[in-house]
């Protein structure tokens, strides 16, 4: 682990980093139970498309250090529902995240453990602040291009994917009449407190 300052570069056209420690490739099969249209999910599973990728710089998981990297959500739909990331709370709930959108168009679907929700649009050069306690999922609403974002979050945050896997997000982003529409998730379950 480098304790010395370092630089690397983001290639926006090639959607990669000149240096990275981790490359996550997430396919549809990792999203069991997350898509509303279970029939479309089953049908698409035979192709098992790549929904999104993450390139990350590893840092020690300590308060004061910052994880950073890029997320690429590919264009596509499962039924009416756009390609999206798994979405997660931070294990250490009281940690924020900052996104800088480099390319494409999308939405960030967010919610708190208490069930408050928010959806914010993402476009090139928009910055999104996800405050502490808000789970977040990136959705690519542009049918023709990847959604590419640079992210920074505290290195001690950790990831809790399980809560979203069990409870879902309160809101879904579906394509209706050629446009993204935010609709309530009929299968969402409030967390027990």
């Amino acid at each position: 682990m480098q304790q010395h300052p370092f630089t690397f570069s983001v290639s926006v056209p090639e959607e990669t980093l000149s240096v990275f420690d981790k490359h996550i490739v997430r396919r549809l099969s990792a999203m069991q139970g997350q898509y509303l249209d279970t029939q479309a999910f089953k049908t698409m599973l035979s192709q098992d498309p790549v929904l999104y990728e993450v390139y990350e710089i590893n840092r020690p998981e300590l308060a004061g250090e910052l994880m950073n990297g890029i997320t690429i959500v590919h264009p596509g739909k499962i039924g009416e529902e756009y390609f999206m990331t798994k979405g997660h709370f931070h294990n250490l709930l009281a940690t924020a995240e900052v996104y800088y959108c480099l390319k494409g168009d999308g939405m960030m679907v967010m919610e708190t453990p208490e069930g408050e929700w928010a959806v914010e649009e993402l476009h090139p050069a928009s910055v999104l602040y996800v405050p502490p306690r808000w789970a977040h999922r990136s959705v690519n609403t542009n049918p023709h291009d990847d959604l590419l974002m640079f992210f920074v979050y505290p290195a001690n945050a950790g990831h809790d994917y399980g809560t979203i896997e069990q409870h879902g997000f309160h809101q879904l982003v579906l394509e209706r009449n050629g446009h993204p529409q935010i609709v309530e998730n009929p299968r969402w379950r409030q967390q027990e407190r």
Copy 2:
């Protein structure tokens, strides 16, 4: 203070944020004792040019929250020495900072309290990781354009400008034969430990 997610946009051409809480405008007169050429400093003081600007989003100064915004260093020199920021350690030394360069060319001059130093180049789409404990100063080495960077750092970091004001940075960036050159600062003083 918003506890709700929010977005804003960076205008790279206009070098501003669509929303911000703080706009710092730093002129030469704030840089007393920092430039090597004291005669050139005195001469330029009559004009007192703006060396750099910062637009920042305020967040609660708590671990887990993230400050973010943009820094703009204007082109110019005081004698042979480029326009630059004051430079600082974080009060909470064990906090990192991430820079994403949006425009222009520059160098980040860095050092630890023990006197270890590093200088890294900045160009569009380059990301710089400043690890915990490293003081940092941005220098614009492009005589024709502003240096524009997006930054993120832990909101509890705080700023210690005084140490650099008293001790200087170990290295200076001067223009020699039309090119930036890194030279030792003859007035640098090791911190007492």
